[in-house]
């Protein structure tokens, strides 16, 4: 970094460049833009970030991030309390909520089992899921894991450990996406779709 930039701006650029999607060059552009729009963008952004850092916590029930604990989904009265949808990350919960296809409870694992990254069952929120599934209210657990080897390994592991709980275990379908054309699909997706076919 050039030495004629003040250390405050340099620090700002260096921190911005740590954000996903931003490299040093784009961080510099973002920093310049923030400086230009000091009152319109920089101060509100700084105060929003400070507020988020103070208020946001991880929900003690599902693992979601929210300003309330338990989170607004766990507290919502109109949601189905008998079904838990298990997802890997908070981003997956947001995707499910965007789709609006599910109106039950969630449980966020915080990742998948991975020998490569040294993520073991005790590093994930599996024990708390089993406790929740054993409560009398819950009747179904939906495993909404990614269709990857790690995601499905985790799903099978959870299924094994939910055998003692009196719940129905289901998982999301694998196969042809909406708008997908067979000609453009990869072999794995076609194989999965063929295996998961159902009467029509």
């Amino acid at each position: 970094m050039s030495s004629n930039i003040s250390p405050e701006i340099e620090r700002l650029i260096s921190l911005l460049s740590k954000l996903p999607g931003l490299g040093p060059r784009s961080a510099r552009r973002a920093a310049l833009d923030l400086i230009k729009k000091r009152d319109g963008l920089m101060r509100p952004l700084a105060s929003a970030m400070a507020e988020a850092a103070d208020k946001i916590s991880t929900c003690k029930i599902c693992g979601n991030v929210d300003a309330q604990n338990p989170c607004h989904i766990c507290r919502a009265g109109g949601r189905d309390q008998t079904i838990i949808c298990v997802v890997q990350e908070v981003g997956d919960l947001w995707a499910m909520e965007r789709a609006g296809a599910f109106r039950g409870q969630y449980h966020i694992l915080g990742g998948t089992l991975s020998a490569l990254d040294g993520i073991r069952p005790e590093d994930l929120n599996i024990a708390s899921l089993i406790d929740r599934a054993k409560s009398e209210v819950v009747t179904e657990v939906i495993l909404a894991m990614n269709a990857t080897v790690d995601g499905q390994t985790t799903a099978h592991y959870i299924t094994d450990h939910l055998e003692t709980a009196d719940v129905t275990i289901s998982r999301l379908a694998h196969g042809v996406p909406v708008g997908g054309e067979l000609d453009y699909l990869d072999d794995g997706t076609i194989t999965a779709a063929m295996k998961s076919r159902r009467p029509f």
Partner: protein, 243 residues
């Protein structure tokens, strides 16, 4: 530098925001790592799953560089095995063992061939557990720690071999093994060419190859066997294929 080959994906690690570093097992280059640009894209992710067979083109300025791969799918084995928890446990274990135990860039075509056969049979739990043990035994041989199961280490006889010495890796006959039974490892009959495999044999085989892989290969680099192998054994036992 450039080469073209085919191989199986053993693992994929995200690198930066758009790329991935893959670990592949090839017949002529051995286990090899390389960067795949755009490896975490929506198009590449289904291809870059452990167990999938891919065509590889490796490019690097010098042979010792990490280099980058261009990958084309050949077979999507991972998707076929994902549904079945036992097959998936086997796939995870074999990929983890290959990744952990094979040295980089050292060709082992015989281990590769056995890997391929094992992978092709992972859908059939009556066959693959014994194949898996044989593959691990072959891996030990390729690493220079092969088991000598031809004759008894104590008497030289080749009749009624029932155990293996944990010290030498050599077979021991039933009579010579009698006083040391609790210290010796059980030799499953299928490793001596018997066609029948019992759940007890599978368990004995897993213990046998696991012991030597851990003490001879893994301990040398301060590692233990991967968790996925233990999970596979647990699953085999739960489903009655190992006892």
């Amino acid at each position: 530098m450039e080469w073209v080959s085919e191989g199986y994906i053993l693992s994929v690690r995200k690198h930066g925001e758009t790329s991935a570093i893959i670990d592949v097992f090839t017949p002529d280059k051995g286990r090899h790592l390389g960067l795949v640009r755009g490896g975490v894209s929506r198009k590449s992710r289904p291809v870059l799953q452990p167990g999938n067979k891919v065509k590889l083109q490796w490019r690097g300025r010098l042979s010792e560089h990490l280099g980058s791969f261009t990958v084309e799918p050949l077979s999507a084995r991972a998707a076929e095995l994902m549904e079945d928890r036992l097959s998936l446990a086997g796939l995870n274990a074999m990929c983890a063992i290959a990744r952990e135990c094979l040295p980089e860039r050292e060709p082992h075509p015989e281990v590769y061939d056995a890997f391929q056969i094992l992978l092709m049979n992972l859908h059939d739990p009556d066959i693959w557990p014994a194949l898996y043990v044989r593959w691990e035994a072959g891996l030990l041989t390729a690493m220079g720690y092969g088991l000598d199961l031809k004759s008894c280490a104590a008497t030289g006889s080749n009749d009624n071999l029932t155990h293996v010495s944990p010290r030498s890796g050599r077979a021991v006959s039933a009579s010579a093994a009698e006083p040391y039974k609790d210290k010796l490892l059980v030799l499953p009959l299928f490793l001596q060419g018997q066609p029948y495999v019992t759940p007890e044999d599978v368990k004995a085989g897993m213990v046998l190859t696991g012991y030597f892989l851990e003490t001879r290969v893994q301990w040398g680099v301060n590692k233990t066997l991967p968790d996925s192998r233990a999970r596979m054994i647990e699953r085999l036992s739960t489903e009655g294929y190992s006892r």
